[in-house]
């Protein structure tokens, strides 16, 4: 019974990891960089939602509806930040050494993180959502309502991104740039703009997930790196450039982490997921669902 509970918890959290990781995978696929500042977008999302709620209600507490209203605002704010970062900073190192692209995003990550500490202190914060009855119980398995809402929200964000990429004109442009930037430029796509939009959208999805994370876990300025690394693990699990792969990878990572935490100790989750990653990288570097192309 306990194991079923762990698996359910894992799936609930895993959906949030997925929503964070799809953006990471998208930037990797389209702009061809590893965005080490991706976790900071999660953090910014969490804090934006926190401060908006704080502004509306006086303290970071509120009903579900009020919280959900903050999400579009958060997404809008972080989209602009992401767009600007790509346009002003990251665009300058694209096509140079991989190491330089890694370092510039690492630099962005530190700068944002440290500014956040200066602005909001290093104390963890959380958004309190008020319920009359906080948990559901189905066949002996406890499901906190907020976790369920986050789960649905995270899946909603992921699906929305997928549909956006498949159906809209901008989505098609993004996919075109990812396949061949030069050919995309030839048919009249503004490659620089498209890359910046990709960066913005990826950051925005991560920030939406961050807002949900603020309600069920907590947020603090230095949380970003862990989410960046988790995204990396998930994307490698799922294979670069495959949103369904990332989806399954995220749920898997969530489950593995909750099982480790439940059966061994929560201290070992990081070590276990990284050991898995290294084994997977050596055995099957293209990921479980990835294509053979590099």
């Amino acid at each position: 019974m306990a194991i079923t509970q762990f698996v359910v918890n894992g799936l609930l959290v895993g959906a949030l990891f997925t929503a964070v990781a799809v953006g990471f995978a998208l930037i990797w696929g389209v702009v061809d960089i590893i965005n080490l500042a991706h976790g900071e977008m999660v953090m910014l999302g969490g804090y934006s939602s926190y401060w908006i709620l704080n502004f509306l209600t006086g303290d970071a507490e509120g009903s579900v509806t009020l919280f959900l209203v903050t999400i579009p605002l958060v997404i809008g704010i972080v989209f602009v930040i992401g767009y600007a970062l790509q346009r002003i900073l990251v665009a300058r190192v694209i096509g140079t050494d991989i190491f330089l692209t890694l370092l510039v995003t690492f630099g962005i990550s530190i700068a944002i993180q440290q500014l956040a500490i200066q602005a909001w202190s290093a104390n963890p914060r959380a958004i309190q959502i008020l319920f009359t009855d906080p948990s559901l119980s189905v066949a002996g398995i406890v499901i906190p309502k907020m976790k369920l809402i986050s789960f649905i929200g995270a899946i909603g964000l992921t699906v929305a991104l997928y549909v956006f990429l498949q159906r809209t004109r901008t989505g098609r442009a993004i996919r075109a740039v990812s396949q061949n930037p030069e050919a995309a430029a030839l048919v009249g796509i503004d490659v620089e703009h498209t890359r910046a939009v990709t960066f913005g959208i990826s950051s925005a999805i991560a920030s939406g997930a961050g807002a949900f994370i603020a309600t069920i876990l907590n947020i603090q300025p230095q949380m970003g790196l862990i989410y960046t690394l988790k995204s990396f693990v998930i994307v490698v699990f799922g294979g670069v450039g495959s949103i369904p792969g990332v989806f399954i990878g995220g749920l898997m990572l969530g489950t593995v982490e909750e099982l480790t935490a439940g059966l061994v100790s929560s201290q070992w989750t990081l070590a276990v997921s990284f050991s898995l990653l290294i084994v997977l990288l050596i055995v099957k570097p293209t990921g479980l669902f990835g294509e053979e192309t590099a």
Binding site: L102, I112, L229, S265, F274, I282
Partner: protein, 354 residues
């Protein structure tokens, strides 16, 4: 290329011409060992001349420490082209080794130091067997993961004192550490300089430029890159071994300091990675700046570090040494006829290489 950074500097150009810089470089190349000896003597003097234990001695010792770390990173990151984001793992391993050995087993310091380097080398061999198979993005993130995993392990174990760490009371004086870090730095600089002119160094650079070609030429690249990785871990571990006692305190945050992890890469990059002097100059310069900001504007030093990293990567990714070398080579370029000397075939080739 170099046009953008030299166009606006007419005054600079007339004061310090490319030829002068070029002469400086060739002078340094010709007399490298002499300069190293002179540097060693100058570096050894301050305590003899009466530099007392205290703030300045600590700062200078830390400058040496960071130079060791940056230079060690450069062996694997700059010379071999494997951008490690996990070098601090070996620092932490070394630091905990001496802390545990001297405190819990009362082993004398020199042996504990050697053990620290030994344990770091042993872990490097094991970790290297896994991560050195990876390249590019994957290698970078895997090493970052190694760093976080080792930090997590030291937080869990009992022998490391868990999250609260270990306090070390019986430590030698600051002068001992001054000379310890200084000796290690000199030894490392000499070794790296020596190696950079041997077959070993050339193979490392070949791996950086094109690993497949290096393998195709018959070099056992796995052997060479593992050797570079282990060498890097050896000096990092040794520095870590000294640090825990120097600092008199060690916990998972200080031993696997994430900020230092970026600092040492930034130092190597600012100075000019792939050279011997570059990382040392970068370490001395950046540490002084960070130390100043840390005292004058508490808490802002890491914001600055992030901005410095972004600025260096975008502004002059070749670092001080690399940029100066390019500036110096302009002279030769014009002596040989500049653009006119390059026929169209060559420039077409250059363009297609981009």
């Amino acid at each position: 290329m170099s046009a953008s950074e030299s166009d606006g500097s007419g005054l600079f150009r007339s004061l310090i011409s490319p030829g002068l810089i070029d002469q400086l470089f060739s002078f340094c190349d010709d007399h490298a060992w002499t300069l190293l000896v002179i540097g060693t003597v100058i570096g050894a003097l301050p305590p003899i001349l009466g530099l007392k234990q205290g703030y300045y001695m600590t700062v200078i010792s830390e400058m040496f420490l960071f130079a060791i770390l940056a230079l060690s990173w450069d062996i694997i990151g700059g010379q071999t082209g494997y951008p490690s984001f996990g070098n601090m793992a070996f620092f932490g391993i070394g630091a905990y080794t001496t802390a545990i050995l001297t405190k819990d087993f009362s082993i004398i310091l020199p042996i504990a130091m050697m053990a620290a380097a030994g344990v770091a080398v042993g872990s490097a061999v094991l970790i290297g067997a896994a991560v050195l198979r990876l390249r590019g993005h994957y290698f970078a993130i895997a090493t970052l993961g190694v760093l976080l995993a080792t930090q997590q392990v030291s937080r869990i174990l009992d022998i490391t004192g868990g999250a609260s760490g270990k306090i070390l009371l019986q430590t030698p004086s600051g002068t001992v550490f001054y000379y310890f870090f200084f000796t290690v730095l000199v030894a490392e600089a000499a070794l790296v300089y020596y190696l950079s002119n041997t077959r070993f160094g050339f193979v490392l650079n070949a791996i950086r430029d094109d690993e497949k070609k290096a393998t195709a030429m018959g070099f056992n690249t796995t052997y060479y890159k593992t050797a570079a990785w282990v060498l890097s871990a050896f000096f990092t571990g040794l520095a870590g071994g000294g640090y825990s006692l120097f600092n008199t305190f060690i916990n998972p945050q200080t031993a696997y300091n994430a900020a230092w992890n970026v600092e040492l890469i930034a130092m190597a990059l600012i100075g000019g990675s792939g050279t011997v002097t570059g990382p040392i100059i970068g370490a001395f310069g950046l540490h002084v700046v960070i130390e100043y900001v840390e005292t004058a504007f508490v808490g802002w030093q890491l914001v600055l570090l992030g901005l410095v990293v972004i600025g260096t990567v975008i502004g002059f990714p070749d670092g001080i040494t690399g940029t100066l070398k390019e500036y110096a080579s302009e002279m030769k370029y014009y002596e040989r006829g500049g653009m006119a000397a390059t026929d169209s075939n060559d420039s077409a080739e250059v363009a297609s290489d981009e």
